[in-house]
C-alpha cells in the first residue's frame, strides 16, 4: 500500500509542490540563518584563531578576547615563574589608525609578536617571510588589508609598499591569510617592540600573555596554576573561545535577532506544511474513508500518512540544505557575510523538519481515527 500512498501524494502535483516548497523554505531559512549566526560567532573569536596559543593570560576582569585591559610588563616574568609554565611571551593587540595613500584613514588591528620567538604569528604566510617582520618598521598584512589599504594606489598594496600607522611609516614585508574578525578590520602583524612604537603611549601596553604548559602539564592545570600564583586570569584556548562566544550571547542582541528569524523559519514550516498537509488529508478524506471501508486499518492509514509526510519532509529538507550549501559556497568564495555550517545545524534542522512532518501527519491521523467508514455511503 505504500506505493499507493506515494502515488496519492505525487499525483496531487500542486499540493505536493506547496508542501515541498514549505519545507524547503523553512529548512533554508533555519539552516542559512544558523550558519550565518555560527559564522558571526566564529568571527568574534578571530584573534584566538589567528594567534594560536594554548594559554591566554589576561587581566582578571577580562571576559572575552576582544576586550583588552592592559597588564604590567612585569606580569610576563611572574607568569614565566609559575610552576607548570614552559614559557610565556607578551602580545600586543590594539585597534589603530592607518593612513592610506589618498589621505583617508582606516582602522586596523595591530598585533605585536614577541620578536625572538614570534609566538602568535599568522599560520599561513602567502607572500614574503614572517621572519622579516623583525626588520625596522616592518609589518605583515593580511589579505583583507590589501583590499582596505589600497585606496589611492595605482595597484593593490604589496611587498615593499609603505603606509602610515599613527603617523609612523610601516613597510609591508609579508602577506598572510587570516581568519576574519568580528570587527571586520584587517590584521597587521609586527614585533612587540615595534607595536609599542606604532601605538600611542599609555601607562600599560601589554594586552595578553601567551603561555605554554610545561611537559607533563595540561593546559587546564597550568592555567589554574597561573591564576593561583598571579591573581591574573588564565584561559585555555578552548575556554577563551567559548567564553568569547558566551559573552556575545549574553551581551548582544545578535542571538535574539537571529533566533527570531530561525523561529520564523520554523513557524513557516509548521504553518505552510502543516496546514497544507492537513488540507491534503481533508481533501482525501472520502478516499481514505473508502480505504477504511474496504478494510484498511487505522494503523495502515496512519503509516501511509507518515510515509507521505516524511517523503515531503526529506525532499524539502534535501532541497533546503542544498540551497543553503549553495549559498554557503558562494559566500565563502566572497568572504562575506559570515558562514559556518557545523554538522549540528543540518542535524538540528532535520530534527525540526521531522517534528513538522510528524506534527502534520498527526493532524491527519487524528482525522482518520475520527473518520467513520460509513462516510462513503453519504452523498
Amino acid at each position: 500500500m505504500y506505493h499507493i500512498a506515494l502515488k496519492m501524494l505525487l499525483g496531487n502535483r500542486s499540493k505536493y509542490i506547496v508542501l515541498v516548497s514549505g519545507i524547503t523554505f523553512s529548512t533554508l531559512l533555519m539552516t542559512q540563518q544558523c550558519a550565518i549566526f555560527c559564522g558571526l560567532m566564529l568571527w568574534t573569536t578571530g584573534s584566538i584563531q589567528n594567534m594560536r596559543s594554548k594559554i591566554w593570560v589576561t587581566d582578571p576582569k577580562v571576559e572575552q578576547v576582544n576586550e583588552v585591559r592592559q597588564l604590567r610588563d612585569t606580569d610576563v616574568g611572574r607568569v614565566r615563574s609559575v610552576e607548570g609554565t614552559a614559557w610565556a611571551v607578551p602580545l600586543f593587540w590594539g585597534l589603530q589608525q592607518a593612513k592610506l595613500a589618498d589621505g583617508t584613514f582606516k582602522q586596523i588591528q595591530l598585533v605585536g609578536l614577541e620578536s625572538a620567538t614570534l609566538v602568535g604569528r599568522p599560520y599561513d604566510v602567502v607572500a614574503g617571510r614572517i621572519e622579516d617582520v623583525r626588520l625596522p618598521n616592518a609589518v605583515v598584512i593580511d589579505e583583507l588589508a590589501i583590499i582596505r589599504l589600497s585606496a589611492g594606489r595605482a595597484k593593490p598594496i604589496g611587498l615593499g609598499d609603505t603606509f602610515e600607522i599613527n603617523d609612523r611609516e610601516a613597510r609591508v614585508v609579508g602577506i598572510c591569510r587570516t581568519a576574519k574578525s568580528f570587527f571586520g578590520m584587517p590584521y597587521i602583524f609586527t614585533t612587540y617592540d615595534q607595536a609599542l612604537q606604532f601605538a600611542p603611549k599609555t601607562r600599560k601596553m601589554l594586552s595578553f600573555i601567551l603561555a605554554e604548559p610545561a611537559e607533563g602539564w595540561t593546559a587546564e592545570a597550568t592555567a589554574r596554576s597561573i591564576e593561583r600564583a598571579t591573581g591574573l586570569r588564565a584561559y585555555t584556548e578552548n575556554d577563551f573561545f567559548w567564553a568569547t562566544i558566551r559573552w556575545y550571547f549574553r551581551n548582544t542582541g545578535i542571538p535574539m535577532s537571529f533566533g527570531i528569524t530561525i523561529l520564523l523559519g520554523f513557524a513557516v514550516g509548521v504553518a505552510v506544511s502543516g496546514q497544507t498537509f492537513y488540507t491534503f488529508v481533508l481533501e482525501n478524506l472520502k478516499h481514505l474513508g473508502a480505504l477504511k471501508a474496504m478494510g484498511a486499518s487505522d494503523g495502515l492509514l496512519a503509516r501511509m500518512l507518515i510515509l507521505q509526510a516524511l517523503t515531503v519532509g526529506f525532499i524539502g529538507y534535501g532541497l533546503g540544505i542544498g540551497l543553503t550549501s549553495l549559498f554557503g559556497s558562494l559566500v565563502l568564495k566572497k568572504g562575506e557575510p559570515p558562514f559556518m555550517l557545523p554538522y549540528q545545524v543540518p542535524l538540528g534542522a532535520l530534527a525540526v523538519v521531522l517534528f513538522i512532518c510528524i506534527f502534520a501527519a498527526l493532524l491527519g491521523i487524528r482525522q482518520i481515527r475520527k473518520l467513520e467508514p460509513a462516510i462513503v455511503f453519504r452523498g
Binding site: 500500500m1 506505493h3 499507493i4 502515488k7 496519492m8 505525487l10 499525483g11 496531487n12 472520502k286 478516499h287 474513508g289 473508502a290 480505504l291 477504511k292 471501508a293 474496504m294 478494510g295 484498511a296 486499518s297 495502515l300 467513520e372 467508514p373 460509513a374 462513503v376 455511503f377 453519504r378 452523498g379
Partner: protein
C-alpha cells in the same frame, strides 16, 4: 469464519440505530428484521430518509448499531471488536459506491488492486489479478488510464472490478447506477447479476432507480426505519407499486 447453517448470507434481527441524543435524536432503524440469501441479488428500496443506507452501513460493518444482531455468512458482527470488524470487511465484503470513490491519482489497475493490497497481497499479484478483472468487465487494455479519462460507466466497471478482486462473499452496492445512463446502468446490473449467481456469494443493492428493479431476485421495501414489505421478483417483472 463461522459455519453458515441456514444458507443466509445476511441475517438481521431486531437491529436499531439512533443518531444523536435527547431532543435531536433521530432513530434511523427501528428493530429491523431482514435476510439476504446466498446466490441472490437483493435490492433495498424505499423513499429518501427511510433508513436504507443506514441498514446497508450496518450490514457492511461500517456503522455500529445500538441493538440487535447481524450475522454475515455466519459471523456475528455484534460480537466483533472494531479491529475484528475491519478485518472481516477486508476479507469478506466488496464495496461499490454511488460516487465510485476511485482514487483519481491511481490508474484503473492500481485502483482495482487496492483491496488485495490491503489484504497483504504483493503488488505484482494484485496487479495481475486486477488486469484479469478489468478484462472481465470489458476494460481490457485500459488499465493504465486514470479514472478521469474514463466515462462514468467505465469508472463504475472499474469500481465493480475493485469490489470483486479479492473474491469477497458479500458485495454491498450503494446506488450503483444513479450516476449512469440507461445503457451503462443495464450493463452494470448484468455484471452484478452474474456476480450474485456465483456460488457462496450475495449482492445487496440500495437503490432508487426503478429501471434496475427487474435485475433483483428479491426486493425489500423500507418505510420509516422499518422493513415494510418483501417482494419476490419473478421473470424479471418489477412490482409496479414500489415507489420510484
Amino acid at each position: 469464519m463461522a459455519e453458515n447453517k441456514n444458507n443466509y448470507a445476511v441475517h438481521v434481527r431486531g437491529v436499531s440505530k439512533t443518531f444523536g441524543a435527547g431532543t435531536t435524536a433521530v432513530t434511523a432503524l427501528k428493530s429491523v428484521n431482514f435476510d439476504a440469501r446466498e446466490g441472490e441479488l437483493l435490492m433495498i428500496v424505499g423513499p429518501s430518509g427511510c433508513g436504507k443506507t443506514t441498514l446497508l452501513s450496518t450490514i457492511a460493518g461500517t456503522l455500529q448499531f445500538d441493538a440487535g444482531e447481524i450475522d454475515v455468512f455466519g459471523s456475528a458482527l455484534q460480537k466483533m471488536s472494531k479491529s475484528q470488524t475491519t478485518a472481516f470487511r477486508r476479507q469478506n465484503i466488496g464495496f461499490i459506491f454511488q460516487e465510485f470513490h476511485l482514487i483519481p491519482t491511481l490508474s484503473a489497475v492500481e485502483n482495482v488492486s487496492v483491496p488485495m493490497l490491503i489484504n497483504g497481497a504483493s503488488r505484482a499479484a494484485a496487479e495481475k489479478k486486477a488486469h484479469a478483472l478489468l478484462a472481465q468487465v470489458g476494460l481490457e487494455g485500459r488499465g493504465h488510464e486514470l479514472p478521469t479519462s474514463l466515462s462514468g460507466g467505465q469508472q463504475q466497471r472499474v469500481a465493480i472490478a475493485r469490489a470483486l478482486v479479492h473474491e469477497p462473499r458479500l458485495i454491498i452496492c450503494d446506488e450503483p447506477t444513479s450516476a449512469l445512463d440507461k445503457e451503462n446502468g443495464a450493463r452494470t446490473m448484468e455484471l452484478l447479476q452474474q456476480v450474485a449467481r456465483a456460488p457462496g456469494r450475495c449482492v445487496v443493492v440500495v437503490t432508487h432507480d426503478n429501471r434496475i428493479f427487474k435485475y433483483a431476485d428479491r426486493m425489500t421495501e423500507m418505510e420509516d426505519g422499518r422493513i415494510a414489505r418483501v417482494h419476490e421478483i419473478k421473470d424479471g417483472q418489477s412490482p409496479e407499486f414500489i415507489p420510484n
